[in-house]
Symmetry: C2
Subunit: 195 residues, 2 copies
């Protein structure tokens, strides 16, 4: 597709063990299956010289940095400690099995749904002349969509790779993709990008 | 419901002629029918002393302040001039028929989907000790949802009044309400609020 990779950043969002590995407390069941497509997009973007940004979420072990309206539910669900910084294993913020950042690639921790909120991402991309973002990862209705809407709001050409994103049900995935398309997000398949 | 109105702001979003009146270029067909419910919520919130905030969108007549990825589509659809500041009539940014801000209530113009983006809304509410927002208006998948997700992200107790919001189809309305509920937004009916 028509894309200037020198002005493009690929975002890989929340593809962490705690969200992806089967059996993890916050597992999005279809996320694991998107890894081969995500890797094909990563390979293409590396080859073409795009900026690679790994976007991750962490929750303080005591829940103190979680959105206030979500804290109680997190506590009551026994989820405190999940995605805690520095932990390892199935509920940790480590990269999901099969995904591997390279030296020199960027990692940012986002404290909220959108990759742009309180992260400095917009300033970083702008300072490097980037005007296009490719969005991949999980979960479609939360961090993918919030990032895509902010991408449009911050005037980026915003591309979401549908088969590199995942949601709890097929209906959620479909309706969210349709909503994003209606505000100008380009929804594509990984095959279209890498061919 | 359990609500401290002294710490609550009611947001009425994009209920403007250009989005609401039948025949308007950007009309959300079901928006007009939500006005009685919105007025009942406004009455209750005024009576209880909540802060009333009218949130509106405008598009410069030449499209120069529209999100870059949306500008071309707006031009090609012949929509330039719709919601232009200072205009009147069916495609204008004026309040929809049947809605009436009172002297002393706040109006803000938001340049993007979320009421929080580039508006100073968060700083304003915080400085007044407000920790709860009630969200009403149109359209559910865009400005309502973007505002609700940012409400949660900025740590506000966030309440969306379902029958005071509208979308193009029943499926879009339902799936968006479900998505919002899953991240901690309280989805209620106007009857629950005003009783």
């Amino acid at each position: 597709m028509n894309l200037d990779y020198n002005k493009t950043a690929l975002l890989i969002i929340d593809m962490q063990k705690g969200f992806v590995e089967p059996g993890a407390a916050l597992c999005v069941p279809t996320a694991k299956a998107t890894i081969p497509a995500i890797n094909s997009v990563i390979d293409k973007c590396r080859e073409e010289g795009a900026k690679i940004v790994w976007v991750k979420r962490e929750y303080a072990a005591d829940g103190s940095d979680v959105e206030i309206p979500r804290r109680k539910a997190l506590e009551e669900s026994g989820l405190l400690g999940v995605l805690a910084p520095g932990t390892t294993g199935i509920n940790s913020p480590e990269d999901a099995e099969g995904l591997m950042p390279l030296e020199g690639e960027t990692t940012i921790i986002k404290p909220r749904f959108s990759s742009f909120l309180k992260t400095g991402l917009d300033e970083m991309l702008r300072s490097e002349g980037i005007d296009t973002i490719i969005v991949t990862g999980t979960t479609t209705p939360n961090c993918i969509r919030a990032t895509a809407f902010d991408g449009i709001s911050y005037d980026y050409r915003t591309i979401v790779v549908e088969d590199c994103c995942s949601a709890k049900t097929e209906e959620i995935q479909r309706v969210n993709m349709e909503d994003m398309a209606r505000v100008g997000v380009e929804i594509i398949g990984s095959g279209e990008l890498i061919k």
